[in-house]
């Protein structure tokens, strides 16, 4: 009965077919990249001084949000949602900044970073375990834990403060090769983090299971996928990436801020959806959301360049979010009717 067909089980041809298969599987992301290209041209048009270095600074500024979007993408494509991403970022960021102030030293910081990443795994595991054990919808569980993590963040750091190790700050600030401003370190770091986590994951058995439980949990169960275990693992991966996002906040600001940025959750979900991940689960990837984050940021930058009240940027983001999905949904309805 179900009309949903996962791209996974489509027969793959050899040679030239692979290009067209790739194009079909990634149509949304490719379209988004095309839109980004147009947007960049437009940016250049409205602001003649916009150059590669400006692009680099845009890329640097979106790193925490891009990581938050990737974290959200993992859990959404496996059929869940995580409203506690911003709180997890705040908590991990505060723990990192506080420990680094308490135990200064460049070497100790390595241990702290590893510890904070482990903390991310634990937070994700708790979220996942609660979702599976209580059978409460994901949105309610993570709504509850978003308060809990934010509370712990306030316990750790009653006020913004702390410090970050120099090497951690150096990781995200400045160009990768001094003198050439084109490639910012932050962007390279983002690509490395996502590539190291996402590419092996999406090609592994676990990755396939994530898509399977997102697409159709019952079918996944009957095909021998351990649904509950996979669900917990999806939250663990999300917590892990959110910890990276929290560390990137500490690295770029040099401190920890206990109150989570309220727009992070909303924008992370918006980016995930614009990035081609289906809210129903089972469809999408990690790269679309990253492109979407850059698009959303660039739209706001353009508003500033055009001397439009930047608040219209929010309006534009909202309209694009709803508009794109309406069109997408309309096309899908047409297709399923045909």
């Amino acid at each position: 009965m179900s009309a949903t067909s996962a791209p996974i089980d489509q027969p793959r041809g050899g040679g030239g077919d692979r290009i067209s298969t790739f194009a079909r599987d990634n149509a949304w992301t490719l379209g988004l990249i095309g839109f980004l290209a147009v947007l960049l041209l437009f940016t250049k048009y409205v602001n003649q001084t916009y150059g590669l270095d400006s692009l680099a600074s845009t890329a640097t500024s979106v790193v925490p949000l891009a990581l938050a979007a990737v974290a959200q993408a993992v859990v959404v494509l496996s059929g869940g949602i995580d409203l506690s991403v911003a709180s997890q970022m705040a908590l991990t960021s505060c723990v990192a900044a506080t420990l680094m102030k308490g135990y200064p030293g460049e070497d100790v910081a390595v241990v702290i970073v590893v510890g904070v990443l482990l903390l991310g795994l634990v937070l994700g595991a708790i979220n996942g375990a609660l979702v599976v054990l209580t059978k409460v919808p994901d949105i309610i569980v993570t709504l509850g834990t978003s308060f809990v993590w934010a509370g712990f963040a306030l316990l750790v750091r009653p006020a913004p403060g702390g410090s970050a190790a120099q090497w951690l700050k150096d990781l995200v600030v400045g160009p990768i090769v001094s003198g050439i401003d084109v490639i910012p370190k932050a962007a390279v770091l983002l690509v490395i983090i996502v590539a190291v986590i996402w590419i092996p994951l999406s090609r592994s058995r676990l990755g396939l299971s994530l898509y399977a439980i997102g697409s159709n949990p019952l079918a996944a169960f009957r095909s021998g996928v351990a649904v509950n275990r996979t669900k917990v693992l999806s939250y663990i991966v999300t917590g892990f990436v959110a910890a990276f996002a929290g560390l990137s906040l500490t690295a770029s600001t040099g401190i920890g801020t206990p109150v989570p940025e309220p727009t992070y959750v909303l924008i992370s979900i918006a980016a995930v959806v614009l990035g081609g991940v289906s809210m129903a689960g089972g469809i999408g990837g990690a790269f679309g959301p990253i492109v979407a984050v850059i698009v959303l940021q660039l739209i706001r930058d353009d508003m500033t360049f055009m001397h439009v009240d930047p608040n219209y940027g929010l309006v534009a983001q909202g309209i694009i979010l709803i508009g794109v999905l309406m069109v997408g949904s309309l096309i899908q309805q047409r297709r399923s009717r045909a």
């Binding site: 309610i140 306030l154 979900i269």
Partner: protein, 330 residues
């Protein structure tokens, strides 16, 4: 014979299934018990706290939360959610305040604010009903749009000065014969919502769509019309909540009501409305809003802010888990 019947009856009362059914069908009973226990706890922790002033302040805070939770209850019954209520409500309070020194005065402001709120809801409803986009996304985007426009409006009206109109401030803080004035707004809203859900065909359609959208469609429910009206209604309710809150706080800002967004979802969930749709009601939500407000008051006596948030979040998960257990086995 009579003895046998007696045993059966007693057994029925003793069996776990009966209690489960009671909990499932009348969540308001255990919720009210919980509320009373919390109030008693508040008085034990801080003797003399529970007096008329305290009750009044609890009722005032709970009113705003309960109206917003009404938006969530209605939309959650159809399997949706309205994440735009925080910004829509703030917008309504703010717009009204900017009209105080304008032609038409604050009544004009109220009209403009509520029309804008309804319009925002209407567009959300079109997105959900006709275009079948996930309500979470539509209302999220609508929240951003409303927030953006509110900020623009703020920049343009900053020179005209903004102050909460006295009439609305009176609704927020005044009392009439010992009864807080905001009940004058809230009681009619609550009665209408409860009656609409329980006694009208429209209310039953909301349950039907949430319970089984395909069955609802096959029975002749035009879901898209129901949903458009629903989200427009949710927008108006949010606008009313924003007016009450701006009167209570005696300030108007474009983010005033936003902190109530997640608690409003929590209040509806604690009140027994399922986010999956088809189950719940507004009376439970009112008690849920009261519980959350009293809980906040109790926690503020004994715990510092961080622990308050931690306990608050844990309780939301715990109560939802209890519901999931009760309803899964029924």
């Amino acid at each position: 014979m009579t003895a046998a019947t007696g045993t059966v009856v007693r057994n029925r009362w003793l069996s776990a299934a009966t209690w489960r059914n009671l909990l499932r069908d009348y969540p308001i009973v255990p919720l009210t018990v919980l509320l009373v226990l919390l109030v008693i706890l508040a008085d034990i922790l801080s003797p003399g706290l529970v007096n008329q002033g305290w009750v009044t302040s609890i009722v005032r805070q709970a009113t705003v939360l309960a109206i917003l939770a009404g938006c969530q209850t209605l939309t959650m019954l159809t399997g949706g959610i309205d994440l735009s209520v925080g910004y829509v409500a703030s917008m309504a309070g703010f717009v009204t305040a900017t009209f105080v020194h304008q032609p038409g005065g604050w009544p004009m402001g109220v009209v403009v604010a509520l029309v804008a709120a309804a319009l925002a809801g209407l567009v959300s409803g079109i997105g959900v009903g006709i275009f079948k986009v996930h309500p979470l996304i539509v209302t999220l985007g609508m929240g951003l749009i409303v927030f953006g426009f509110s900020n623009v409006w703020q920049l343009q009206s900053v020179q005209t000065g903004a102050g909460v109109p006295n009439e609305i401030h009176t609704i927020g803080v005044g009392t009439l014969g010992g009864i807080p004035n905001d009940l004058i707004v809230f009681v009619p809203v609550a009665i209408v919502l409860i009656l609409v859900l329980k006694r009208t065909g429209y209310g039953r359609m909301l349950y039907a769509i949430g319970d089984n959208p395909i069955a609802a469609r096959l029975s002749g429910v035009r879901s898209w019309q129901v949903l458009i009206v629903l989200y427009a209604m949710s927008g108006v309710l949010a606008g009313i909540a924003g007016l009450v809150q701006s009167g209570l706080a005696n300030t108007a800002s474009v983010t005033l009501v936003q902190p109530y967004l997640l608690p409003s979802v929590a209040a509806a969930v604690i009140g027994g409305t399922s986010i999956l749709g088809g189950r719940g009601g507004y009376s439970g939500t009112i008690v849920g809003a009261l519980i959350l407000t009293v809980l906040g008051s109790v926690l503020s006596i004994v715990l510092p802010e961080p622990w308050r948030q931690i306990v608050f979040g844990s309780i939301v998960v715990l109560v939802a888990a209890a519901y999931a257990r009760v309803t899964a086995e029924g």
